[in-house]
């Protein structure tokens, strides 16, 4: 049975990939995720220069999931080479997807050019963070033309595969996905956090996040992320890193069926900690065995279609 994934020419030993912003500040931290079963990793989004981010509280959980306004803190692409070197050295068989962001296309281009010299396997363009709106205005991924322009500009300066990270906070994700594809994206990461949302502490009578609002993820995001992946799959040919509320194997299988080839793992870490990766991969394997599916690729996009062929269901019931 095969659960490894060929993605843009990169080989992932299993479909789980650490989502950007989770445990992605240092190379050692991401290497530790691989040691606990993740197939590949995404580093925390870096801008060109160091960023402090918002004051705490920045990450909170609530009944329905997670809300964060970290504010894209990071040491800056310029200063982060050592983190990527540490990772590449320790995890040569687990692709590194390096996430970059920028307030302008020029900044993104400079980030991509520097990344050309770093030991990374793929670039993820974070066009979709909802937490820095005051500072940077509407994310690129909320506008088809901006997505097209930014993707095309970065395509020109790098040969590394590019995945464009989309926002769920749009009415037309299919159109935006098509723009990214048409302008040179090799893949899509679907999706970033939704919202922004807010939590208020009634005793303090104040929003809890220092930024007041933050991106919502986890359980609450799952059905929306699932729909976004499904819609993108219908609209593009390039493969998808499905992300958003994948907490258990069942969520992961739904995402594969909707059209994801890789699975961004984030909030699962809060509930299952480092066991999340193996739990999800093992659960997918169990399902494949039960259903008589030999290659994980068969699952990708399986939910698209009309009448079901009942003779193919549940081939090895326990």
């Amino acid at each position: 049975m095969n659960v490894s994934v060929d993605f843009c020419g990169l080989k992932f030993p299993n479909p789980t990939v650490v989502a950007s912003g989770y445990l992605g500040v240092t190379g050692a931290s991401l290497a530790r995720c691989v040691e606990h079963g993740s197939g590949g990793v995404t580093s925390k989004t870096l801008f060109l220069e160091p960023r402090k981010g918002h004051p705490n509280p920045t990450v909170l959980t609530f009944q329905g999931g997670v809300i964060n306004a970290v504010g894209l803190s990071g040491e800056g692409v310029k200063n982060a080479k050592h983190e990527f070197e540490v990772y590449a050295d320790r995890c040569p068989d687990n692709p590194m997807i390096a996430s970059i962001g920028g307030a302008t296309i020029e900044e993104l281009i400079e980030c991509a050019e520097i990344m050309n010299e770093y030991p990374i396997d793929m670039l993820e363009l974070n066009f979709s963070c909802p937490n820095v709106h005051d500072e940077m205005g509407r994310p690129f991924a909320c506008d088809p033309q901006m997505t097209a322009d930014a993707t095309a500009a970065i395509r020109k300066v790098t040969k590394k595969p590019i995945s464009v990270k989309l926002s769920p906070n749009v009415a037309n994700i299919g159109v935006i996905a098509k723009q990214a594809e048409a302008n040179g994206a090799d893949a899509l990461t679907v999706v970033n956090t939704m919202g922004p949302g807010m939590l208020i502490d009634i005793d303090m009578r104040r929003p809890i996040l220092s930024n007041k609002v933050g991106g919502v993820s986890g359980h609450a995001l799952k059905p929306i992320a699932l729909r976004c992946v499904y819609e993108c799959y219908q609209n593009v040919k390039i493969p998808i890193i499905a992300t958003g509320g994948i907490i258990q194997a069942k969520d992961a299988i739904e995402m594969l069926m909707a059209g994801g080839s890789l699975l961004g793992i984030g909030s699962a870490l809060i509930y299952y900690d480092m066991a999340a990766f193996d739990k999800i991969t093992d659960g997918i394997r169990d399902f494949m065995k039960k259903e008589g599916i030999n290659d994980i690729e068969e699952l990708v996009g399986m939910a698209h279609g009309d009448m079901i062929d009942h003779s193919k269901l549940d081939q090895n019931p326990d």
Binding site: A28, K44, V86
Partner: protein, 266 residues
């Protein structure tokens, strides 16, 4: 697991040293010695603080005026005001099976978790020697609290205004020469902890240190507090680490990362 902050009323504030105040809350957090909470000052920041004294009714948090948020907290927060408390989080101190006598060494605002551990150890019938270090007599905290628990207290100050003049690690050296000790525990300036860790390992005595790294989530998600080269999280696998393990980390006593993740030498 993760939690939301709980707004707790400050019942009492004690000025325990020129730069440290202890905030008393009526709440049993059921924290274990060594664990910490995130203390939220709405409109300002939220910062990690160790659990100090705790009993069925109260929890004490000793907060040093160490920068922007803590300074404002000292200035603005009065008895009756509320702080948001999120946690407890992190790893705990472990007492070796059959331990008869342990040493705890607290430096500055690293002393509160030592008091919490001393409570636990003395309740289990373990003798505790408490070494409290500070720059001068006025900065020694919790001496009476340790004594109340029946601990043998040894003081150490940089200027000799109380107890030993010099480093608290020198007091430890002497104790280890004279007594049979089953466990050593420390929280305070990192270079002091490196010294303590090395002494413990050299003498083959079970030793634990409690580290500090910049924290955001506090529950193991954001990756802000990770240590090189293992990648462990100080908010989750730490703050308490076995000394031998801590010493395997090249950054222990050497560097830490700030809010951006940039390396800052110690």
């Amino acid at each position: 697991m993760a939690y939301l902050p709980v707004a707790l009323k400050v019942e009492e504030i004690r000025q325990d040293s020129p730069n440290l105040k202890t905030y008393v809350f009526k709440r049993n957090l059921r924290a274990k010695p060594g664990q910490f909470v995130m203390v939220w000052v709405p409109g300002v920041d939220e910062v990690p603080m160790s659990i100090g004294w705790q009993d069925e009714e109260e929890v004490h948090i000793g907060i040093a005026d160490a920068g922007d948020c803590t300074h404002l907290l000292h200035e603005k927060i009065k008895v009756g005001d509320k702080l948001g408390i999120r946690g407890p989080y992190g790893s705990v101190f472990n007492l070796p099976e059959g331990a008869k006598k342990i040493v705890v060494i607290g430096g500055g605002y690293g002393t509160p978790p030592m008091l919490s551990l001393a409570q636990d150890a003395t309740a289990k019938g373990i003798e505790v020697i408490a070494i409290i270090g500070a720059r001068s007599k006025d900065y020694i905290i919790y001496e009476d609290w340790f004594k109340k628990l029946g601990c043998e207290v040894k003081l150490s100050t940089d200027d000799g205004s109380a107890g030993h003049k010099g480093y608290s690690t020198e007091v430890l050296e002497k104790v280890l020469e004279e007594e049979k000790i089953d466990g050593i525990y420390t929280c305070g300036p990192e270079l002091m902890m490196v010294n303590v860790a090395k002494q413990g390992v050299a003498k083959d005595i079970y030793t634990e240190v409690s580290l500090e790294r910049y924290m955001k989530c506090g529950f193991g998600a954001c990756g802000q507090c990770c240590m090189d080269n293992t990648g462990i999280r100080i908010c989750k696998e730490g703050p308490v680490l076995e000394a031998k393990y801590a010493l395997e980390h090249p950054e222990f006593g050497k560097y830490t990362r700030g809010p951006e993740g940039i390396i800052e030498e110690m």
